[in-house]
């Protein structure tokens, strides 16, 4: 296409974005996938004699050890599994539920809107901890329940956000013209509304992805989460709370792991969004 190569610099940047994104995210996923091979003990081996070894001191513990003398590197790599699963499942789940709710409410207005939005209001107003404590008191704590809880409490954010955008989009003439053609509501929603409001949804998803990895741990901290011997990035960060002054590495490395994952994901997300968005191709 004639205009696809508008700005060489922008395109080079985008290519780089993609490469760096794939590299970061791919490496992390691979590492997490092969963690059992790399670290057969899963970072659970306790060595109280070697507790709080600083990083880059010994070959055995390149990233140092935690307060129980476990290898931080092994825990970071192994811990990725729980974190990535929680992050992905909860975000994908809430996007599906929330975006659907928002689209229906915003597009059809009326009773659906009133009903769904009241549900959203209720959900937004309920404090997360109460929800969490009740939820776990009744159903017990497990990874699946954590994910379900996160979905239940977060889908409403997407719903509200999407509804807001739909309200103004649905008055636009290109939506009217799709209606005039007789495009079924479902297709108007999926083909015309959805692509035009995906931007903010992606932003919210990024936020929640990182947030949920961290939340998983604060649930553990409330005593609602999962077995503390199973490592997770959020859990490591939470456990490191009181060691911030004395042993920075215990919190910084899991934090970096989250950062790099989120960074990789974002680069990929932005790249995807840009490639889907026609405006990016010619505007600055």
């Amino acid at each position: 296409m004639a205009n696809a190569t508008t700005s060489g610099r922008l395109n080079r940047f985008k290519a780089m974005e993609f490469v760096v994104g794939i590299l970061l995210f791919g490496t992390i996923c691979l590492a997490v996938l092969f963690a059992p091979l790399l670290f057969p003990d899963g970072g659970t081996k306790i060595d109280l004699a070697a507790r709080l070894t600083a990083p880059f001191q010994s070959f055995a513990h390149v990233l140092g050890t935690d307060p129980l003398g476990r290898d931080v590197l092994a825990r970071v790599v192994t811990g990725g599994k729980v974190s990535l699963v929680v992050g992905f499942a909860s975000v994908v789940g809430s996007i599906f539920v929330g975006v659907a709710m928002g689209l229906v409410a915003g597009y059809y207005r009326g009773a659906w809107d009133a009903l769904l939005m009241r549900f959203v209001d209720v959900q937004l107003a309920l404090p997360f901890i109460l929800l969490a404590i009740t939820f776990f008191a009744i159903l017990g704590g497990s990874l699946i329940n954590t994910i379900v809880l996160l979905i239940v409490s977060q889908c409403v954010q997407y719903a509200r956000l999407v509804r807001g955008s739909v309200l103004s989009l649905r008055e636009r003439e290109f939506i009217l013209s799709a209606r005039a053609i007789g495009v079924a509501d479902r297709n108007i929603i999926l083909r015309h509304l959805l692509p035009n409001l995906l931007g903010p949804v992606i932003v919210l998803a990024t936020l929640n992805f990182a947030n949920n990895i961290l939340l998983e741990s604060s649930l553990t901290f409330l005593g609602l989460g999962v077995d503390p011997t199973i490592p997770s990035w959020g859990g490591m960060l939470a456990d490191a709370r009181t060691y911030l002054q004395t042993a920075w590495w215990v919190s910084v490395f899991p934090g970096l792991a989250i950062l790099l994952t989120v960074l990789g994901l974002n680069l990929l997300g932005d790249w995807l969004r840009d490639s889907l968005d026609p405006t990016g191709r010619t505007s600055r």
């Binding site: 937004l124 107003a125 309920l126 901890i129 929800l131 309200l167 103004s168 990024t206 959020g234 960060l237």
Partner: protein
């Protein structure tokens, strides 16, 4: 319009009622406050427990307790805390201003930072300011708030001794909590502003605004931003709820006597009156703010107004 407003306010009240009902019900599923009250005593008999239950009023059937609570609400009597018997209104009286001022200060910090940064990122898309801003925002997302808070405390309160490490007295005590919360909000808002701005900047009316000779600031902040406002406001509404309800960690770290802590402690202690009242007040606020935002949609976008 008046009719619409009444309808929405009635809906809002109804929603608050549903929230209180859910809360009242949920909290009762998680344990008996009498057991907690009696914990410290020596040998506790069932009679002792019953005595405490009667004193707390939780021996009565659920609906009696709930309606009692509602009746209290009507007269603005929130009852007394199960822990120590302080009137709940007094607790809320100190916690609400603390939370609200902090929430607004944080929102303020976040708005003041995120809008210019987000706009800058959108207009320099792909160049270094954009990159820098995006990476900054991702760092903000990747480390938990207690981490940021603790770092601030270590730097400004302990190493430099410029600011008090915690507490709720005076302007200086606002700085660190508001910055912590504000920076974390900023991290997301920057990205949001950037994305919505990118969509808007393509519009012809932005070009027309430029053709009038308006300064870039006016073009971006008046013409373009207003068209992003619906999304931004919606997001703010969602965040406001999170701010009020999810502020606990930051409140804890800075020892801020706010609603989050109050709610958290009340859940931990199964302090029904405090929890129910706090949630009622918070949900009324959150729902109120979101209602205002819904109304603001019409103010911002006249196309929605005609509906």
């Amino acid at each position: 319009m008046i009719g619409f407003l009444t309808k929405r306010i009635l809906q809002a009240i109804f929603t608050v009622l549903v929230v209180t009902l859910v809360v009242a019900f949920a909290i009762r599923l998680t344990g008996d406050p009498a057991l907690i009250s009696a914990q410290g005593g020596g040998t506790v008999t069932e009679a002792d427990l019953q005595r405490i239950r009667v004193a707390l009023g939780v021996d009565r059937p659920f609906y009696v307790q709930y309606f009692g609570f509602l009746k209290g609400l009507l007269t603005l009597d929130f009852g007394r805390s199960f822990v120590g018997g302080t009137p709940v209104s007094q607790l809320i009286g100190t916690a609400l201003p603390a939370t609200l001022t902090l929430a607004f200060a944080s929102l303020f910090v976040s708005i003041v930072l995120s809008i210019p940064l987000g706009v800058k990122a959108a207009t320099t898309r792909g160049k270094w300011p954009d990159q820098a801003i995006r990476i900054f925002s991702l760092i903000g997302l990747s480390f938990p708030n207690f981490w940021l808070a603790t770092m601030l405390v270590l730097l400004f309160a302990i190493a430099l001794q410029w600011l008090p490490p915690s507490g709720y007295d005076g302007f200086s005590s606002y700085i660190m909590p508001a910055v912590t919360m504000g920076l974390i909000l900023t991290a997301t808002n920057v990205r949001l502003v950037r994305t919505t701005m990118l969509d808007t900047l393509r519009s012809q009316y932005v070009m027309v605004a430029r053709a009038k000779g308006l300064s870039e600031t006016k073009v971006l902040y008046k013409h373009a931003l207003r068209n992003c406002a619906i999304v931004l406001l919606t997001f703010l509404g969602v965040q406001f709820g999170g701010l009020l309800g999810g502020i606990v960690v930051v409140e804890r770290v800075f020892n801020w006597p706010g609603m989050g802590t109050l709610a958290f402690d009340a859940v931990a202690a199964r302090d029904y009156p405090v929890l129910q009242s706090v949630i009622t007040v918070l949900s009324a606020l959150i729902i109120g703010v979101n209602l205002l935002i819904d109304l603001a949609y019409g103010l911002i976008d006249p196309r929605i107004r005609t509906q």
